[in-house]
Symmetry: D2
Subunit: 411 residues, 4 copies
């Protein structure tokens, strides 16, 4: 098992301030939502906002405070069962598909829980003795990185819940314009070849699944300097992409037929009875809006991304190609727009060992049946993404902010 | 098709007052619950409290106001889709299993909806011209009876939702003691025999399924003068009732095995990890309490009721036996304790015709695959029950306040 | 518990000859089928031909020989597990949906099993002492009645299996013309009213569920003197019967939509790609044939029968009406064409008690969730039907030879 | 798209003889089975023996004869629908889970089909003109390789079907002893490091998924020189392997719990009621036998293989490690015992392109959600395996002859 990697080395006040800032951001994201909104769970894979708020607090309690704050008293001993997500080593768990049934504890009780945990973490940051500090610092940083992951999930999950409501209510009235891409012509950029090193090493936080840094051998390839846009994806649809079996992986084609997929999640075709219109519309955190051809296409499954690439005479990059190219060629929109599906299954890196202890369950036990996404999205908290980051989801998942960038073989 | 039966004949102010009283009672029942509690749906068969509050208002809008209040403007034209339960004739419907996803409209918006509809109904009651009055009166009364049915469902449904919460929160701190039976020895009372008339006729409200009054031929039988108690049912459990196939109907035995039933819904066996205790405990609107041997057993499926009766060397009464006996012999606890499963499938009475129009869907289209329950429960609003009332649920349903009374053949 | 009713009183040789005849008929029905055909199970509710042949033999072994032939040695002690259908009192059972996996024992081994059992039953019939004879006679007769029920099921089940084969092979090249009705105009015949006795009593075999004979009170009604024809049912289809919610019970309408029912089972619409044709075609034991407008409509679910009756301005008869009318008015096609759905749930008769012992599971434990069919079909072995016979199936069942006869209220 | 790779270059008579030999071997494998046995389908993933016999013939018909034998007349034009497995480009398909319903065509008709197709292929091999010969040769070879894959599947599928029969019949009375391993001590052998070439290139048949040959960068590792034995796996079980969450991938642990896995498929624990015994027993083509500690463990899912490796303080090799080591170090039991799960997801090789035309669906469209197995098994036809072969199955699949070989990091 690996030790936790060194987090960003800093002085204690800086980490305390960062802790306060990150924790406050979660509440800010939840603020536009009513207590009812924060309790709902629209599908087993999505969690209620309130659950995210509580689970991230439980994580500090179970991973940081239980080990390093000797006098700490859990807010409520029964809540570990409710807010443990999947850590077998940390006790029993409420069934995931039933998180939405937890009307109690109430939202205000969860707010009190957060305050209780925050105060204890701040106390710990102020009082930990120097010998314990490196471990405390690393675990608090992990708790914050974890919280940031849930900040994005909070948005993806509430978006899906609002989409299930026939009224199609908006999460927020206004949205930053950051998702609109410049209408760049696409350039095919040659990436590094041969035995190329990828993965995390050295200073700065990274998850265990980004290690160890190691070499992969890359054949000559080119990678698109920008993302695929909604306008381009609409051409794929118009050309019968969702009706052409030969473009699809077998499991994807089965889903197209059984789920009757005809467009990305959150797209409404012209004339759709949910909100009749003469043009394509796209539902987002801002509500329903006309399709913006220049925006990056989002909310694709891996299957759709791969089918689009096939249709375009290209393919998806591997994660090694993506990471190697991200470090060298001048690619646009690596971060802050949409996560980018790669053609790489989420396998362990050579020499990978999970962290020691319960946090070893954080990433390692999910390394089968999933695909890697790279980059980060507009919903990713600023500063959270990095080029070595390995996000992962099953190939059928569509409710993430997931799009694609093309690649192709040859120099 | 039948015309609506005459409701209780009364002066307009009396109906207006009754309308206000019944409508207020729904809000009173919801009052102990937070907005979060009122939004949750714990299984497809149960509906959120908020949905009950809105649906009963929609019913007045769609059935009374749309036809008889010409200037009435619906509160929100899109809400018919959300709050229509199952009326094919009244437009499209949100899928029943997804009622819990309706965080919008918010609870306060639903309160405003109720006020809007109530005002319009009160206006109508004040202004309807004499020619329209009989129909208005009948439909408003139907709306109130409908609301009362949902008042009971509101309680059954929230009880189930709270049960699904590992914290086992109580709906209300205190509960009336009305469910405790006097510890009567059981007497077998002979019921009326031969060609006996049952069913509703004459004055007073009744649902269409209680008509027409007609004869059924009853063989000699005896019926218990009181309900089966929790203490008696506990003996059935202790005697291996849930492990003895020969006591059960085939479908019931399959459920015992696949669902691992070992006791009524809401009973916790001694030592159950959800709330360890040395004795049986029963969850109710008041929370978890030690089993009260003298209380009527409740929350049984038909299968359990029938298996208990078989074990006791008896049987369930038919609905005709129940109704005939209720009218003559001095039976205890006919109303206000628990609904009583009968051995009668929910078939139409001879000569039955549903009401004309959309309200013809109220009862008639459900007349297959269900069993009749008679009496009424502690959760039934006072004044709502009557001896001709035909409640009905599928034989596997356990989340109602459903118990049993025994019967046997012979004089 | 009831004792077995007296079977047809006869001399021993007559029963021995009847036993040989009935048992041979099962083999004759299977004869057109290959060993492969006889092994297949096309859905959980249907059983393989070979399983029918073996199960009926096991029934003699377990119910007759085990109790009354002291020296009898079971053909193979392990086969009880394979061929016990649903008798909890008679040991463990192979899961019903997996009967088609039993390629072993082979068909020829099952033939040997039948011969082994037949020889032992014949020996018993020849040697049973007079004291035991009444019970032996009754149980052998029960075994034969049971076998006859499975003879019909053998045909219904293989028909369904052949239907699932895209080649639509025929069970038999030629079929008797008995299913064609004379093109009679329909007459509405008044049935007996008042306290009318129904049910079995006296000499002759009957199942326990036909007893006791008892009175039911019948309101004035009329019943059609003939069955509904395919031509009439085609008019219902052409008039949009399968698209009109108001004609259907709620559960039936849900099935129409989820299963996309548009016609009876085994009907192919004009142009169906399975076997293109300009007209309706109907699949039967004889293969695919053009729809015969004068034949009785068959292979309906209860829901379809009830919807048709509603469309026709009529209703289904209750089972008491059917039986009372069958005994008095001159109705056509009571037997030998199609089973006739009634509007009666399969509830126990007043005073009903199942037979004593394991055979008490024969009928009684299925008395919930099913509807009664009366009469008999062209697939019923001659002599097996009678007017008091209560056949029963769930309301969604369509693979039986099930049609309908109309009734209506009033004198 | 790739062209078909050159097959083994040979003279025509050699290929004709090989064709006759391979085709005859399929019939020989089916010979111990009755027509009933050959028709059964025990789960959707498995196919009936008869279907394998017919499908492999259809493959020659659709892929070879349709394109290259101009006068060829299909045996029955309707059979393409029945026996096309998954080729979207080659027309409609009977649903996979319903292959067991195809009692028609009969086994003897399928035998006639095989003879018809074989004759046409032999004619083609004798008559193809030199210009067409390379393509004909390549496609016939593909048909034979395809047939060989189905020969192994025929055995895996019938083994599963026989396992589902409570009688636990044997496929064959005697089995070769080849699966017994010499009781070797395990040696950890260092494999090649750095930029190592893997994949197929040059002469000899290979599937498209084995190309192109390319480099992968291997970190230092060691690989076990022999397979894991049943005795070793039994120690894992005895040590609580199936009860220790920390050894398992998350999805695997969920299956252990929901499917109640406690041993490999086909293992019966001491005392199992299916066949009581004091020791472990293993079901195989030879029937039930006492566990042989020296035999390679087989019929593992990927999850079990990975959990065992974790328990053993090791890991599974990647497919590149396996292939590189197979070519250099002296590993035992690479072929002919059990397929060996690797830690590699079944992703396309860099530069991979599927074959042109319908046969492009052979492998490429399955490249997601599966894991690679290397080597070959005792059920693989002799001569079919090779070191570059990429077998693949979903991680939960247990009915293949699948075991494991350990690996570990470091020099």
């Amino acid at each position: 098992m690996n030790a936790l990697p060194a987090a960003v080395r800093g002085v204690r006040p800086a980490l305390a301030a960062r802790h306060a800032r990150v924790r406050a951001h979660s509440l800010a994201l939840a603020a536009p939502l009513s207590a009812e909104d924060q309790c709902v769970q629209a599908m087993p894979d999505a969690s209620p906002t309130k659950w995210h708020l509580a689970h991230t607090s439980w994580f500090f309690e179970a991973v940081v405070l239980a080990a390093h704050a000797p006098g700490y008293r859990p807010f409520d001993a029964r809540w570990g069962h409710l807010f443990n997500s999947y850590y077998e080593a940390l006790g029993s768990r409420h069934p995931r598909p039933q998180r939405g049934l937890l009307t109690r504890p109430s939202l205000s009780e969860v707010h009190a829980y957060r305050a209780h945990v925050d105060e204890a973490v701040q106390d710990l940051l102020a009082s930990a003795d120097p010998a314990a500090w490196p471990q405390v610092e690393a675990l608090v940083e992990l708790g914050l990185q974890h919280e940031q992951q849930h900040q994005e999930l909070l948005l993806t999950d509430i978006l899906y819940a609002l989409w299930c409501n026939p009224l199609l209510p908006a999460y927020a009235a206004h949205e930053a314009a950051s998702l609109r891409l410049a209408p760049l012509p696409l350039h095919w950029v040659a990436g590094p070849e041969g035995g190329v090193a990828i993965g995390h090493e050295g200073e700065g936080f990274a998850f265990d699944n980004e290690s160890p840094r190691h070499r992969q051998w890359l054949q000559p390839y080119r990678i698109a300097d920008r993302l695929v846009s909604c306008g381009e994806y609409a051409e794929f649809i118009a050309d019968g992409g969702y009706r052409t079996a030969s473009l699809w992986l077998s499991d994807g084609w089965a889903l197209v037929q059984s789920q009757q997929w005809t467009a990305p999640l959150y797209w409404l075709a012209p004339g759709d009875p949910r909100a009749p219109s003469a043009q394509w519309q796209v539902f987002g955190l801002h509500g329903l809006r006309p399709l913006d051809a220049a925006a990056p296409v989002s909310h694709l499954s891996f299957y759709e991304a791969a089918a689009y690439a096939e249709w375009a005479g290209a393919r998806l990059p591997t994660e090694a190609e993506w990471e190697a190219a991200a470090a060298r060629p001048g690619l646009h929109e690596l971060h802050g727009h949409v996560w980018q599906w790669t053609r790489s299954s989420y396998d362990p890196y050579p020499g990978y060992r999970p962290w020691a202890g319960a946090i070893g369950e954080y990433n390692g036990k999910f390394m089968v049946g999933q695909l890697v996404l790279r980059g980060s999205s507009a919903a990713t908290p600023p500063g959270h993404g990095r080029d070595t980051y390995r996000n992962f989801f099953p190939p059928a998942a569509r409710w993430q902010f997931s799009g694609l960038r093309l690649a192709r073989d040859g120099a």
